[in-house]
Amino acid sequence: MSRFMNKDAVAGYIFAAPFIIGFLFLMVGPMGMSLYYSFTNFQLGRVPTWIGLDNYSRLFFNNFTDFHNSVMVTFRFVFLSVPVRMVFGLMIAYVLTRKMKGVHFYRSVYYLPTLIGGSIAVALVWGQLFQENGVVYNIFEAVGLSGVAWFDSVSLAIYPLVLMNVWQFGAAMIIFAAGLKDIPESYYEAAEIDGANKWQAFFKITLPCLSPIILYNLVMQTISAFMTFTQAFVITNGGPAGGTNFVALYIYQHAFVWRNMGYASAMSWILLLIIAVSTAIILLTSKRWTFYANE
């Protein structure tokens, strides 16, 4: 081994090489290409022609109804699913921190949907469960409500998908559970001496202590909710009448069904922008509600 090769600087870059190469050729390069294509009429197999902002103006003027619908449906999905999923993750984590027998078993049970929820198998079952005359329909009828044909309704078709997303709160639960374990018992003891009840303790101690973890979960879950694709693709394929046509689906259709790569690239940049702005808003407002113990 030569001394040159054994230098930290040399070895460091050699070991980091997989990441650096991947970053350049599978991340930055493609992102640059994508930005360029978004200003062209590129279709697979043809030579791209520069068309300036045409793709973007088409999105916002000519095809505004479809794209606007996609964005709105996606926002609806994010707003409906992310908060509820977080609340469930936190609630269940809180309930399961009690030193009771079987907590680990229950946690595994509650994590199971998250483990397999991303699979096509579960998506197919979900579609069956919410069919007209399916299990959910029959439950509604059994308790005296009228059954709903979820997937026939433009406005209701999104709910089975939202519920499926909420159902997978397991990862959030595990992260919250770890955070709860780190809150010193003495905080609660002090609160009890001061006469605080359980609710006050939860809102004045638990929530503030967990706020950095809440922030982290919120950002990650929001980003992934914006990119929802597989479940909608398998269960509703965007329908009916665009009721679940999330932006990711719309991009997929343009890019890989109709091969409008340039147009789809423009859309993917707008999606990136929407995600970036949403994340920035969360991070900026977080200063008001997150609390770091060491400050």
């Binding site: 460091g12 599978l26 483990l115 439950i139 997929y252």
Partner: protein, 281 residues
């Protein structure tokens, strides 16, 4: 007082168990669905006991025979090839990058680290199209390469997870090894990599099940039924107008077994992984 405590304890357990049952009900319903015929499935029955368990034999046989002349033997083989290759790639590449970032001191290390963190936030949708164009122009669409190769360039989440773990491996071990004649490379292969085993296992499980569930990648890149992994096969099974739901549920159930078995074996590792890196499971 003691009875009151017992009542509240029982109440708690009943509540938690009931909710847990509701959580896994859809999965149980699917598993039981593999033992039902179409009429029974389409009736939307809530029951978890099939009319005739023997129906399962037919469902599994019909299901396994697949469609388009390709059986599930092929689909499962493809899934295993894809998932195992991607797992090996991610474990090896992420561990070397983590070693570089956590053990070696050099100019630019912080920049590489920041870039690595930033990749965790970049949505796949933006790079999906140009990546496809690149692989298309290389003539690699319709092969496994686009699905396996990217795994060999490290994955931000796992690099981060391994860096967290490396903090707990004493640096004195590296130094002692160097005194004994190791260099920067053999310190990695002989000391750090073997001690990293728990983090490697965590990475392997999570990456395996991501790759196993991967749908969009195979959907875009693979062409013939011969290449399909189970995820694509299941979806197309239904999409092709196949209406044998019992057979579909039978294959769906089988498709979940590898992930489920790993969860049973490595439950603890998985939980630790989610905790230390905040990975979305």
């Amino acid at each position: 007082m003691a009875t009151k405590k017992l009542v509240s304890k029982t109440f708690y357990h009943i509540l938690v168990a009931l909710f847990g049952f509701a959580m896994v009900y859809p999965v149980l319903w699917m598993v039981i669905g593999s033992f039902r015929d179409n009429v029974e499935i389409l009736s939307g029955t809530l029951s978890l006991i099939p009319n005739d368990w023997a129906q399962g034999i037919e469902n599994f046989q019909v299901g396994w025979s697949g469609f388009a002349g390709v059986t599930f033997t092929t689909f499962f083989r493809n899934s295993f090839i894809l998932a195992i290759s991607a797992t090996i790639g991610v474990v090896l590449s992420s561990s070397v990058v983590a070693y570089s970032l956590s053990r070696l001191r050099y100019r630019g290390r912080r920049i590489v680290f920041m870039l690595m963190l930033s990749t965790m936030m970049i949505p796949g949708q933006v790079i999906m199209i140009p990546q496809f164009i690149i692989f298309h122009s290389l003539g690699l669409v319709g092969t496994f390469v686009p699905l396996i190769l990217p795994a060999f360039f490290g994955h931000g989440f796992f690099i981060f997870l391994m860096m967290q773990f490396m903090v707990s491996i004493p640096k004195e071990l590296d130094e002692a090894a160097i005194v004994d004649g190791c260099n920067k490379y053999t310190v990695f292969t002989r000391i750090v990599f073997p001690l990293l085993k728990p983090a490697l296992i965590t990475t392997a499980i999570i990456q395996f099940y991501w790759a196993w569930d991967n749908f969009m990648g195979p959907l875009i890149y693979l062409q013939g039924a011969n290449q399909w992994p189970v995820s694509i096969a299941l979806r197309n099974f239904v999409y092709a107008g196949n209406t044998n739901f019992g057979a579909m549920f039978a294959m769906s159930t089988l498709s979940l077994i590898p992930v489920f078995v790993m969860f049973l074996i490595f439950n603890k590792r998985l939980v630790e992984g989610i905790n230390t890196s905040g990975i979305k499971g």
